[in-house]
Symmetry: C2
Amino acid sequence: MNMKMYQGFNREQLEERMRMMENRFEQHKAQSLKLDMSRGKPSKEQLDLSDGLFKNITNFESEDGIDCRNYGVIDGLPEMKRIFAQMLEVDQDELIVGDSSSLNMMYDVIARAYNHGLMNAEPWSRLDKIKFLCPCPGYDRHFAICELFGIEMITIPMNEDGPDMDMVEALVAEDRSIKGIWCVPKYSNPTGIIYSDEVVKRLAHMRTKANDFRVFWDNAYCVHHLYEENSLLNILAECKKAGNADRVFMFASTAKISYAGAGVAAMAASRDNIRHTLGQIAIQTINPNKVNHLLHARFFKDLDGIKEHMKKHAAILRPKFETVTSILKKNLENLNIARWTTPRGGYFISLDVPEGCARKVVAKAREAGVTLTKAGATFPYGIEPEDKNIRLAPSFPTPAELASAIEIVCTCIELVALEKILLNEVNR
Amino acid sequence: MNMKMYQGFNREQLEERMRMMENRFEQHKAQSLKLDMSRGKPSKEQLDLSDGLFKNITNFESEDGIDCRNYGVIDGLPEMKRIFAQMLEVDQDELIVGDSSSLNMMYDVIARAYNHGLMNAEPWSRLDKIKFLCPCPGYDRHFAICELFGIEMITIPMNEDGPDMDMVEALVAEDRSIKGIWCVPKYSNPTGIIYSDEVVKRLAHMRTKANDFRVFWDNAYCVHHLYEENSLLNILAECKKAGNADRVFMFASTAKISYAGAGVAAMAASRDNIRHTLGQIAIQTINPNKVNHLLHARFFKDLDGIKEHMKKHAAILRPKFETVTSILKKNLENLNIARWTTPRGGYFISLDVPEGCARKVVAKAREAGVTLTKAGATFPYGIEPEDKNIRLAPSFPTPAELASAIEIVCTCIELVALEKILLNEVNR
């Protein structure tokens, strides 16, 4: 937003615009809307796409004759591993398939790193300080894990092609207490960007002071295209080339492929990392829910099955994303008071409003019945110093609800921006 | 075994018996049996009892209109909580329903106690030493968790009515580093005993030096009767009466009600403990698999539904337990070389052989194709100083296989006992 806000408006026109927006806001409020677009939840229509999971179940025997109902198979059902191996471009023995939550798998990696230590490393609980790099805006649940463990978070600016790698490289080369970086490398939450090949390579090759530094590669949206298929460089392959095979833990799940709360999650890493991890998981539990693995493997069959399925999701999601961006454009274009992303996949649109306005916009929208993600949520500790980023999650509402909600958001942005301008002018 | 082994046999008769057993052992070996009775796995026939879980699924909406496929509801689906509340005799807000593994829930309680601390307590990772009391023989997977965390395990003798409470009380009153005790209070693994009311009350009332001492109440077999229904005093209620409401974490699961590897697990505790735990779990994951909760709640309906269902399990298991005990009796009665339990529920028979013989018996049985639970597994670190306890798990094999296996075990016990006697006599 280098341009001046409301360029070409004089004070009188600004005040008139303010009155117009105040009227509009009262009209919005009169609708008594109640709409939650705070989280990236799939809609009912999307969930229905996978109800075939539970159709025509005649037996629970896997391809290899495993009775999926019984105990055993700590690393997950082979046919489900095969699908994740295709999806993440790794070998089957570089994988662990778990229960439904990839977030829980990430948490567990960190919890085990604290209690027992990563491979060939001492437990983090014995060290004075642990730090993680957090490209921002990012995913609030990653940051919440760090906060719970008392991990100091260092904000890294997020560019169009991934995190600011100059800064990342400089930090990890010097500071032994930096043990990890959070990455959502494809259709990033919330900006929607995809890490460039160069960024992936630099992450794989960079020199780190900590021997047990790990890239937490949360590939939550790897097959979640809204338009064309976009690819992402395979970071495990790059790490191997760089002689840093053990540097990365990759995560994925079918949360936004099958069921958000009842899908299948997986993690991938080098064989040594997987072997070491399984040694610990084997004490933690007996097996993941293999029946759920079996139902998923039978329903999707292979990566092609998943890709076909994702086209159905895209057909539902694409118009929602386009509703949001077209309404933002219609209302706010040329006012220079907002900037938003137009992602080619994933679940979010990242919206920037003028500095110091995000919290006010979110509060104002709530007043009119629209719950947005808490302002600041995309930054460590829930605080964005510049107070300008808002995450929009268009997936859950119906298109009509969404249109109303975004109209309201636009009005709120104008109200807050106009107030800021008019006050500043008064103060001049 | 106060009586003399093979009382009334002279050396010649013993040697003749030895030859007879050696012949018998060769015959066993010639059968080339391959039978694993090392773990408490339900049989296929038992698992089939619950296949109704996956029949006629027309929707995924809970009683309260929750879409179980989507995100949310961190503490578990209300209708599944209602069933566990009945089963564990607690209120619904004293419960968290999780994924499939109660072992994982226990591990997580300990992992969180280390990393973040129990309610009003500092993280265990900051303390020099943590100790747990382990009534023995007990469950190897409990002990494995302690070993992984470096928790020092103190063996407590197990009596007919529960652990030796004089010893427990004396230890916990003096040692602040003792933070927990493992209990399988009903149809205990492996002895099958049920904790008496007095033992439960003493556990609830005893004075502990550690403020964050917890009873880990693994009620894995609470409804797993083989004959009549046996009750167990409600430890949470007793703890409340004693003013120690926060002392206990109870665990249960449907692993041996529905599917061993794909059931539903739960934990119960005081409201304050549950609130504190949920605060941490909400960072760890988004929700447990509510679809699995829904299917279970619809299939079982309530505690009565579960009780009816457990009668079908008992009808399958009872003859297996009776096969084991009758063959043991037929072969070994009056020889004074073995003693075994005749449990009224649960999954195991505990078999004691002469001191120093358990490992040899297990090895010998393996030679003839029968895999038993590793000798020593029922003690901390997998080592029983007296080397006499063997855990028999009769659930998985067919009755015919089981009969062959126990015949072999009997032969092996005689071989090892006779060798011991004959060698000792030579050495005299």
